[in-house]
């Protein structure tokens, strides 16, 4: 397989970054202990560590690292698929307004104090439902008969996004509540997330990524336009719908548990493309790895840099990602 080396390297980096991230924190735990705790949790064995360390590793850091990896992978894969679907390098997972829709849902729940009786999951549920409804609205607005042009989809996405954003602003402005929580959610973060969150998004994101990869070849064809894809025997209309649904669900799930984390879905696919080219059969798995690595690393920075407080992870993704991306662009540019 081509680019096997890049893959192996990324998987290795993923493993290293993941493990280091578990080690690093307010109370740092050495790598051997961490690996032993994890092995012990799976296989059983004699503990030589303190119960506190075990709790920190298994109940706080591991789920958080896994969640960061899942969210990063999901956002990056959705971004890669949507960029090709829209044939627009500026596309990201939030292009259909899912972010602003989810934010409105989250703000509504947080500010109104409404509860669905799900405790911790009220917020993710509201965000997911509102995000999905927004995408449906965008899709319906762009639909003419049975066809949806990607162009109108893009524009109606922008319009609906703006509308949702205005609604959220209105809620925030008129609310007397403490806005810190809402704003922190909107900037994205993984603080306090648990195994429950991991289990919640795992099926959506893993199934989504699998479906993306399954459609890698048709996606390649779609990069040259729907007409061109049709001539290669790809049912572009059907493919488009599948991709829209899957990317909405994946993104919705990610946003529900982590808030709005910008930049990953936009930049990671580009970085992957710079590394291995646009073939989705390689690009998608690679984006998944790179997205996971990037978000795990960013989350580690977010929770350590001003410890014990946390930075919103969206700040880190843009702060670190943008210069790196620019460096890659320049580096590739000077090569050509």
């Amino acid at each position: 397989m081509r680019h096997g080396g890049v893959f192996a390297a990324l998987l290795l980096i993923l493993a290293c970054v993941g493990t280091s991230s578990v080690c690093i924190g307010e109370s740092s735990i050495d790598c051997g202990t961490v690996l032993a705790i994890i092995r012990n949790a799976v296989l059983g064995g004699e503990p030589f560590w303190s119960p506190a360390e075990e709790t920190i590793v298994l109940l706080i850091r591991v789920p958080r690292v896994l969640l960061a990896g899942l969210v990063g992978a999901g956002l990056a894969a959705s971004g890669a698929a949507l960029q090709s679907l829209f044939r627009n390098p500026m596309a990201d997972p939030f292009i259909l307004g899912i972010s602003n829709g989810s934010a409105l849902g989250a703000a509504a729940v947080l500010l109104s104090g409404v509860s669905f009786g799900l405790g911790l999951f009220d917020l993710p549920l509201a965000a997911f439902v509102c995000g999905t409804l927004t995408v449906l609205l965008v899709y319906e607005l762009a639909r003419v008969g049975s066809r949806v042009s990607t162009h109108t989809l893009l524009l109606s996405g922008i319009a609906v996004s703006a509308f949702m954003s205005a609604c959220t602003s209105f809620l925030l402005f008129t609310s007397s509540e403490d806005l810190h929580q809402v704003i922190f959610w909107m900037m994205g973060g993984l603080a306090g997330r648990t195994w429950a969150h991991v289990y919640m998004v795992l099926p959506f994101i893993s199934a989504g990524v699998f479906i993306f990869v399954a459609f890698a070849r048709p996606l390649n064809a779609l990069m040259f336009g729907e007409e061109s894809a049709h001539y290669l025997g790809v049912q572009a209309d059907q493919l488009k719908k599948v991709l829209l649904v899957v990317s909405s669900v994946v993104t919705g799930a990610a946003v529900a548990v982590s808030g709005i984390i910008g930049f990953v879905g936009l930049i990671i696919p580009h970085i992957a493309r710079l590394l291995v080219g646009p073939d989705h059969r390689v690009l998608l798995p690679l984006s998944v790895c790179a997205g996971a690595i990037f978000l795990i690393a960013a989350d580690t920075v977010a929770r350590t840099v001003i410890a014990p407080a946390e930075l919103p992870i969206g700040v880190i993704t843009a702060l670190c990602g943008a210069p790196f991306f620019i460096y890659l662009l320049r580096w590739r540019g000077s090569e050509a």
């Binding site: 390649n220 040259f224 336009g225 001539y231 290669l232 646009p278 073939d279």
Partner: protein
């Protein structure tokens, strides 16, 4: 045998009919060109034929199987389409792009086999694009890109190849190379191409379909479909046939039609020869006069022009001396005309009779001598007789040095002769 048939196809965008009742078919081993003015529905027809657009009425079928009844994958193994342009926001290597042509043969998680790679390499070879193998499609020139697009289509191993203006944006050499390529391909598969260049259609296509406002204005042998009247009717331009010494088919030269101010009833007889009367014939016909010409030798350019313009002509065998019978016919035609236009031409024994008849009409009919010179010695190959006759004409009739002047003189002599009178 492979047959692509288009039967009664009607298509509309919204309420605007783009194609109405289009019917024709294409057989294996044929290169068929679809021609027509901008906006006549060529590209739409191509998309309907390719199964991308669904016609409102009518059927497109490949080997008797209706295109809409075929699964997209099966259709993609049967026909390939080369679009006008290739656009992608992301870079692809030429080889990967061509390999994409194997898409309809591959399962979801199936990797390309050695056979697929062999076919892709072969397609590059067939399209003469092997040297582009490792380039990126974004950096190719127009001609190279066209070859690469054709290569991808060939990698689909199609029985039918449809192309939308493959020579647009290419320089002449690349245009000819692409047309030769299509011609070669058409030995094995059906090739249908939308094409703008009428001469390419005449030189390369086995048959042409001429579209006009979404209907078939002609279908068949290019030379007969692309006749002067048909081209005038469909494209609104005048065409003129020119024989290239090497090419088997005549090529066409085009011009914007001169304004026809009015139909005139006046009849003008043109006497010329040696190619000297071409401009006169052209101008008079387009000014609306009823024009006859004589006596012209076969093989004379003036005769070709007169025939192309649809004039009645009196003819004589090549290089023969114009006999008395022909001279009498000419005289008769002169008398039936309202005016005579004589082009100063080289005169030898063979065509001296023309000049004699012209001179005999002095005083009988208004005559205009079309001459850019006043020294007729160079034109005289009869030992002085022709020079004398020219001198007599110059003295006793109107002389015009330009075509415009000739038209003015005629109006002076016989009035405007418009039909309204």
């Amino acid at each position: 045998m492979s047959v692509l048939s288009v039967d009664g196809v009607t298509f509309r965008y919204g309420s605007t009919a783009v194609l109405s009742d289009v019917t024709f078919d294409v057989r294996a081993g044929e290169l068929v060109g679809i021609l027509g003015p901008n906006g006549c529905g060529k590209t739409t027809l191509m998309r309907v034929m390719a199964g991308y657009l669904r016609p409102e009425a009518g059927v497109v079928s490949y080997d008797g199987r209706a295109v809409n009844a075929l699964r997209p994958r099966d259709l993609a193994r049967l026909r390939a389409v080369v679009e006008q342009r290739l656009t992608s926001p992301f870079e692809f290597s030429v080889y990967d792009y061509v390999l994409m042509g194997r898409t309809p043969y591959l399962g979801r998680f199936q990797a390309e086999t050695l056979e697929d790679h062999r076919i892709a390499e072969e397609a590059l070879e067939l399209a003469r694009a092997v040297h582009l193998h490792d380039r990126s499609i974004g950096e190719l020139s127009g001609g190279e890109l066209q070859r690469v697009m054709i290569a991808r289509a060939l990698a689909q191993e199609p029985e039918f190849l449809l192309l939308d203006e493959p020579t647009a944006h290419l320089d002449i050499k690349h245009q000819l190379e692409i047309m030769h390529l299509l011609k070669n391909l058409s030995r094995d598969i059906c090739v249908v191409t939308v094409i703008h260049d009428v001469n390419h259609a005449i030189s390369f296509c086995d048959r042409t379909v001429l579209l006009r406002d979404g209907t078939v204005a002609g279908c068949g042998d290019p030379t007969s479909v692309l006749s002067t009247p048909a081209i005038r009717e469909v494209f609104g331009v005048d065409s003129y046939r020119l024989q290239h010494p090497h090419l088997p088919q005549a090529q066409l030269a085009f011009s914007i039609p001169l304004p026809r101010h009015r139909e005139r009833k006046s009849r003008i007889l043109v006497i010329g020869g040696g190619g000297c009367a071409q401009a006169v014939l052209f101008a008079l016909v387009h000014a609306g006069y009823i024009v006859r010409a004589g006596v012209l030798h076969e093989g004379d350019r003036d005769l070709d022009v007169a025939r192309a313009l649809g004039c009645d002509t009196l003819t004589a065998p090549p290089f023969s001396r114009i006999g008395s019978a022909d001279a009498e016919r000419l005289q008769e035609w002169c008398r039936q005309s309202d005016a005579i236009a004589v082009a100063a031409m080289p005169v030898g024994e063979g065509n001296l009779a023309n000049l004699e008849v012209a001179c005999s009409m002095i005083g009988d009919r208004p005559i205009v001598l079309f001459s850019r010179q006043s020294d007729f010695r160079e034109l005289d190959h009869t030992g002085g007789r022709a020079e004398q006759l020219f001198a007599a004409l110059e003295e006793r009739s109107s002389v015009a040095a330009t075509v415009d002047e000739l038209l003015r003189r005629l109006v002076d002599l016989i009035g405007s002769g418009s039909a309204q009178r």
